[in-house]
Symmetry: C2
Subunit: 358 residues, 2 copies
Amino acid sequence: MKTPARDGFRMPAEWERHAGTWMLWPERHDNWREGAAPAQRAFTEVASAIAQSEPVTMAVSAQQFEAARRALASAVRVVEMSSNDAWMRDVGPTFVVNARGERRGVDWIFNSWGGLTGGIYSPWDLDDQVAAKVLEIERCARYRAPFVLEGGAIHVDGKGTLLTTEECLLNPNRNPDLRRGQIESLLEDHLGVRKIIWLGRGVYNDETDGHVDNLCCFVRPGEVALTWCDDRSDPQYEISHEAYEVLRSARDVRGKLLKVHKLQQPGPLYMTESEAAGIEAAPGCKPRRAGERLAASYVNFYIANLAIVMPLLDARTDGRAKAALSRLFPGRKVIGVPSREILLGGGNIHCITQQVPK
Amino acid sequence: MKTPARDGFRMPAEWERHAGTWMLWPERHDNWREGAAPAQRAFTEVASAIAQSEPVTMAVSAQQFEAARRALASAVRVVEMSSNDAWMRDVGPTFVVNARGERRGVDWIFNSWGGLTGGIYSPWDLDDQVAAKVLEIERCARYRAPFVLEGGAIHVDGKGTLLTTEECLLNPNRNPDLRRGQIESLLEDHLGVRKIIWLGRGVYNDETDGHVDNLCCFVRPGEVALTWCDDRSDPQYEISHEAYEVLRSARDVRGKLLKVHKLQQPGPLYMTESEAAGIEAAPGCKPRRAGERLAASYVNFYIANLAIVMPLLDARTDGRAKAALSRLFPGRKVIGVPSREILLGGGNIHCITQQVPK
């Protein structure tokens, strides 16, 4: 095995047929409030929504195994797996396929979104083993990539175009010794892409250093959804408008201009006093404080085989977002899941899922 | 789901086609000498021998995951799973199949071979979860049996006959409230058998309370192999001769008399001073002492798709046992694996494996 691209493998788009979805069970009390119970309920609901489309596997620590098995729908497979938190998008493998339908996985180096210079928690050794453990269970060959990346930092159209952000991939807390051109080559080698579109900054106050999966995603080849803000006084305004300008003049791998769909953001939303009070702050984990702006975005949805599983975040804006997604994905049922508890932990539905292509 | 038998399921014979084999990785220092390193080498060799026939999965604790992955052949799948020790035969599920080729699993209650009255270690809570965890990964429906049993306490011919021992199944430290007839009904319900042959005692000084899989097994319908001893001064003499008398007059489910093949035992073998010194005795685990008679038997082999994986225990007797097994299984290659290290821990190759029927 050389690299996925040289071996004839490519990362499929999320809307291509899945064999299933992997998730991780939240439990750390220093990130999830009230002993993680409300987050566990939200993850359970996400798993049930996806399980209507395809098999779901929840990876759970030994300590939480029985509780998770009781809580989750019987259709959800529960397997024991240690981790440092619950972000399967970022710690899980990125699956690649070849023309013969063979499936392999890329295991990126994980450093907790920035290691000791801006990372979110320490240690992260168990998280860094998750991709390998998933690939063992899936009986998939593994490519260990020689650089730091999280699955949420990239989106692809399945045709050879990749979307990412400079804020994350060029951040010195990821791969300080790699320049833009080297990172592009590595992405091409590992994902089978040939065209990379660089956006600038990710969603305002996103602690992942601007993961693209909270900002902008492909909805089909040639079309993207972008989180949007019309309020000039909101710091998200400039971020979304800058991204829009890049996208308007960007061309995909086929040389075509992109169509950009704006998804009005919820909120702005902030962590409340009582929410912050439920978190047991501990050394080695980024503190969460009342009043902090939450990086809320409707772009952070998941494309399952038969459904779009989208975050419900704000009663004033959820309906419009749901209608927009229904128009963007006419073949799929849009299922909204209340996901403020996931947002409070630092991400959303896309961040806690990882598809296994068929 | 009612019971396997009522739902049309039966336990296949071990020689029926396998989809794979499960094992558990040894690591406890109070049972395996020298930090379990020699045992890990023996388990690794067993896994490699079986992997020549069929896919092998090794379940390993989080702590040992990377070490096991490095040690084991790449063909062996390694999955994280907590356990109290390494006896997959006894703590794993017993798989049952129906006529349509569907596969389910029976999850027996496990009490460490006798609980607090003669059991081997405490606690055993993680062991009791292993069957459920294996069945989750295999995506098999699970029957939780309402009584204590270990997989090593039974053998079947796949046609409806079951072989077991009174010493184990009627032991008050297993199911004190169940009488022989009730146990027979439960075995029939859970394994799809209709005829039970009761032997008396298991191998001398076998700490499992006489598991049949160390004493006697089917080699095909109508034929069994029995561990044998011609030395009247050896306590095994009487045990083997008693079993022989029972077997000579027993009839299987088809009403046929059995053919009994005698397998001369190795040794007798005893734990040496240096072997005992390498074990870090600890509270909650049965102590192992120099001079103890080891329950060594060549019957404790495993039938893989293409091979018999047999224990090598004594240079004076290994060759004869290997020749005998070659005659008994003409379609399979007999692979001997040095297994004294497994024997020192209290079992042998059959005890550390569990087949998944195809």
